[in-house]
Symmetry: C2
Subunit: 272 residues, 2 copies
């Protein structure tokens, strides 16, 4: 196996990885960092575009570590060995497993999407979702539902944040994620004839009452403030998920799961 | 307002709070600690049984802090003032708001439950769920569905762990939580004529195909290993939540949300 060794903190590779801890740099370079055996395996399996790999010898003591390193080497990726203390310094996990990789984002726009089947396009739109665990879990659930793309509005947490990446359980390498800084996603979806569905407390219509066929987009709002008013007054359907007990609201990822799987049920599971 | 001051780390109150950081002590004393303005407000609102309150002066700078302290005082709870450094030492949150309370658990058994309506009993059973966020979110979703009680099997994370408590968003003060060390919950539910429903990958029956009426219990399994085999071979219905995309499984809390709300739909929302 051909690897190069890095021992200095001022090495360009080390500086590059450290710079990618900042959202601004990730967005500018269109790259992000993954850490750990499991997510790196998922990246390999799902065709993630690895730029290079960094590891330390401790990886050999982790289950699947040596095997993973071999496979990465056979695929011809540039691999750098870094001593433990320096590796731990650039890692964000508490107990680093000794492997990380820099991965290139896919450049997918709405125009690139091709219909997967005759059922129409299915989008999930995240409006200023803040919690990394929620966002990652919604991406995972969305891939499970085989939707076409996730759309993320400005003011949301970065989907390439390490906590989001972990919570997606590999879905990030499959599911197109399209980020907008402004409200133009609404125009773009309208042009495609997408019906926008939003969960809201201010309606009598429940989520079981509406039609989920054709081109649809389910909007999930911010954990504390819900969906932006400018968006809400432009949606096609407002639906409520009834709360029967003594809490104020459902968790955003749970609300997303209930709506997404109601759409799956109506589009894919129901026997006619 | 009558308060007592504590300045020594060896004070019995301080030692008591510190001891309740251990699950063993929580279980033995049937008490747990809540931290922060929001959860303490929820505890007051929902009739949580507060034993005593500890605060520091920084609470007056937190929104709603002074008002909360006043209300606690009017209710006659014992209130202890603790200087900032000592308070921060016994707190588990990163940025303590300056209030915590020791709360007594409710002693509820299956026998204490009374039917809420004519639709039958509705339980959610958590089998060795490990992630505090997942458990808290499932408790929140279960209260939203107005179920009768959560049953927690041995080997699960402690529902009175601070991370679980936060994720329940106050539901912990309403919803009866019944913990078992062994498998006797199965017997006890059988005696009540409860139909056990488990999500499993090894079945063709989907979660939309079955009957959710009458006395039911939905079982959610461990994040990595699913439901214990001994339980699985004794359930009445195994159902699958179909995965259409490229991931292996759904998050446990999402699977719970989908099943719980399918039951809500069939029991409460469908128009006959």
């Amino acid at each position: 196996m051909k690897t190069k060794s890095i021992s200095s903190e001022s090495n360009a590779i080390i500086k590059h990885i450290k710079s990618l801890r900042l959202r601004k740099q990730r967005t500018k370079n269109r790259q992000f960092v993954i850490e750990g055996v499991r997510i790196t395996e998922e990246c390999l399996k799902h065709g993630g575009r690895i730029e290079y790999v960094v590891y330390n010898k401790g990886l050999h003591n982790v289950q699947g570590g040596a095997n993973l390193l071999n496979r990465l080497s056979k695929r011809g990726y540039a691999i750098y060995e870094v001593p433990g203390p320096l590796f731990n310094k650039i890692a964000t996990t508490e107990n680093p497993q000794g492997i990380m990789a820099v991965v290139n984002m896919k450049n997918i726009t709405l125009e690139d999407l091709k219909l997967k089947d005759d059922k129409g396009l299915f989008f999930v739109i995240l409006d200023r979702v803040q919690d990394p665990g929620n966002m990652g879990t919604i991406i995972r659930t969305s891939e499970s539902a085989n939707i076409d793309a996730i759309i993320i509005t400005g003011g949301s947490v970065d989907p390439y944040n390490d906590k989001v990446l972990r919570a997606t359980m590999g879905a990030i390498f499959y599911l197109p994620v399209i980020q907008y800084k402004d409200d133009r996603w609404m125009e773009h979806l309208r042009e495609k004839g997408v019906k926008l569905i939003a969960s809201d407390l201010d309606t009598d219509k429940t989520y079981i009452d509406i039609d989920y066929s054709g081109n649809i987009g389910i909007i999930i709002g911010n954990e504390a403030n819900g969906i932006d008013k400018k968006i809400l007054c432009n949606v096609d359907e407002k639906v409520i998920i009834p709360i029967l007990g003594n809490i104020e609201s459902l968790n955003a990822a749970i609300a997303a799961g209930i709506l997404i799987y109601k759409a799956v049920e109506k589009r894919n599971l129901e026997k006619n």
